[in-house]
């Protein structure tokens, strides 16, 4: 098996593996409780060992890139919320930062600090959900995994309550605009956030114990779904999926955006490239982001929250025709990038081409390499550890 996994070619004709093998083709179909959304993988099995895996994304494709060609940035923002629907804040930030970079719009310091705070809060919420669903996949929807999920979701509710107090909605906020924020921090919000995150910080130790102290969790995640750094870089993995291979690349530190040039971040890196390493990285990020939130919440500077407050007309955000560029920010899943070409509909206020580069798509594309040689049970664990969100894979 190890020779198969050394560097398998995912496009090799299945007959070349073994002409006599009686392989069973199993569809882990679009409807499945553990594919993290509508996603299909065709597994060619020899007994329970996977010989070849062919993923089929696209079941949630909604044609957003075509839609963006006739929408201004104000209109695109609520749509990109629905891509990475677990971390909508960072989605909005990605598109708005892209427009701001292309337009040369300055974002006031208060807004940048708020964005950093919201991104870190969103990271904690997203990783809590990830931990819950990961243990759910390993342990069973009606079993030990469900217990961990209940606890992490309960903590996530605290964060969603904070977001609701700020923006008015628990999910899909539409609180970012070109030039800054739309909603300012209300009275008593700092205290609410501080209480929530102090509580969450104390609970993280419990979760780590429930996972690290559980033999079954360890044997089901160690040496599962391993890939090396070269493959990860070539495929385009970013975020925790890349940092589990030992590569300390984090856009918050390498290419600071928002207020990360003023706020130092400790990057979490692990070795091994297996599911356990990804777990270690994300738990470390959980702890780090909690600490960051508690640091930032007391230090947000005063000032305006938007430099283009009141500019309702789309003409204000018009990109020059033919102007193109790429901007990427670090979301809980990796690098979410936007490639914009100006000069589209609405008299130029919409982009000519808006390509959204989702981190989960690249995470999914490593599956033909990562799944070979493992069993069907491991498929779920590997999928879960890569933390994909189909909304952003398919757009």
């Amino acid at each position: 098996m190890s020779s198969l996994r050394a560097r398998v070619d995912p496009h090799l004709d299945i007959d070349l593996y073994d002409a006599d093998a009686d392989l069973m083709a199993l569809n882990m179909g679009p409807q499945h409780p553990s594919t993290h959304g509508v996603f299909r993988i065709k597994l060619f099995l020899d007994g329970e060992i996977i010989i070849k895996a062919v993923p089929y994304p696209g079941y949630l494709h909604r044609g957003v890139e075509k839609l963006c060609e006739k929408l201004t940035c104000v209109q695109i923002t609520p749509i990109v919320d629905k891509h990475d629907y677990v971390a909508p804040m960072t989605n909005e930030q990605a598109i708005n930062v892209a427009f701001e970079t292309m337009l040369g719009v300055e974002v006031p310091r208060r807004a940048r600090w708020m964005r950093t705070l919201l991104a870190e809060m969103q990271r904690v919420a997203s990783h809590l959900l990830w931990l819950g669903t990961f243990t759910l996949d390993i342990g069973g929807t009606i079993g030990g995994g469900a217990s961990v999920m209940m606890y992490t979701f309960r903590e996530r509710e605290l964060i969603l309550d904070c977001f609701e107090a700020l923006t008015g909605s628990r999910f899909h906020y539409n609180t970012h605009c070109v030039g800054g924020q739309r909603h300012d921090i209300p009275e008593g919000w700092a205290k609410q956030v501080r209480d929530a995150f102090t509580h969450i910080q104390s609970r993280i130790t419990d979760y780590v114990e429930m996972c690290d102290g559980n033999e079954i969790f360890l044997i089901r995640s160690r040496n599962i779904g391993t890939y090396d750094a070269d493959l990860a870089l070539g495929v385009g993995l970013t975020g925790p999926n890349l940092r589990c291979c030992g590569i300390a690349h984090d856009l918050r530190v390498d290419r600071p955006f928002h207020a990360y040039d003023e706020i130092p971040v400790n990057v979490a890196v692990a070795e091994g490239g297996d599911c356990y390493a990804r777990y270690v990285v994300r738990v470390a990020e959980l702890k780090e982001s909690c600490r960051l939130v508690l640091d930032i919440i007391d230090g947000i500077p005063e000032g305006p929250i938007s430099s283009k407050r009141g500019a309702k007309s789309p003409i204000a955000y018009k990109l020059k025709a033919g102007l193109q560029g790429y901007t990427g920010i670090e979301t809980p899943r990796g690098e979410l990038g936007t490639y914009l070409i100006g000069g589209g509909g609405q008299r130029g206020a919409a982009p000519y081409r808006c390509k959204l580069r989702p981190p989960s798509l690249h995470a999914m594309s490593i599956l033909p390499w990562a799944l070979v040689g493992h069993t069907v049970s491991d498929t779920v664990a590997i999928l879960g550890s890569l933390d994909p969100i189909m909304g952003e894979v398919d757009r």
Partner: protein
Amino acid sequence: MDELAPDTRAALHAKFPDVIPAEGDVDSQGPVVPADQHLAFAEALKNAGYRLYISCVGSHWPAAGDDEEDRYEVATVLRHPDDGKVFWWRVSIATSATVPSLYPLFGGADWQEREQFDLVGVVFDGHPDLRRLMMPEDWPGHPLRKEYAIDTPHAPWR
């Protein structure tokens, strides 16, 4: 676009003098690379440390009157994982021509190029398995082309 390191710039200028000038600004929209040098350019950048494959973006530019043919423009974005610098370049071809695939260098080009083929219609030469990614296999047309109307009626799903 982030600045190229001086030694990277010198190496690239030596191999591709028309694309990367020795001094002055590199085109901030992404330098235009001829299609036949596309693979070599990517390899040179990868050897210079730009090993993180970010994305591949295809766009459709309809013929503007006196041009004979519609054009496709494919932008490839790479990042340097050690210092975080990003770099991209463009390849401009007529719609009947093909762009060499970057799959031999980057595994991520597999799905990215399939997606651009699916949605825009760019054909990548040398891709091991160029078929649709997002749309169903029997979908007619390429949705992100400019003449494809957003409210194109489609046959109901069987």
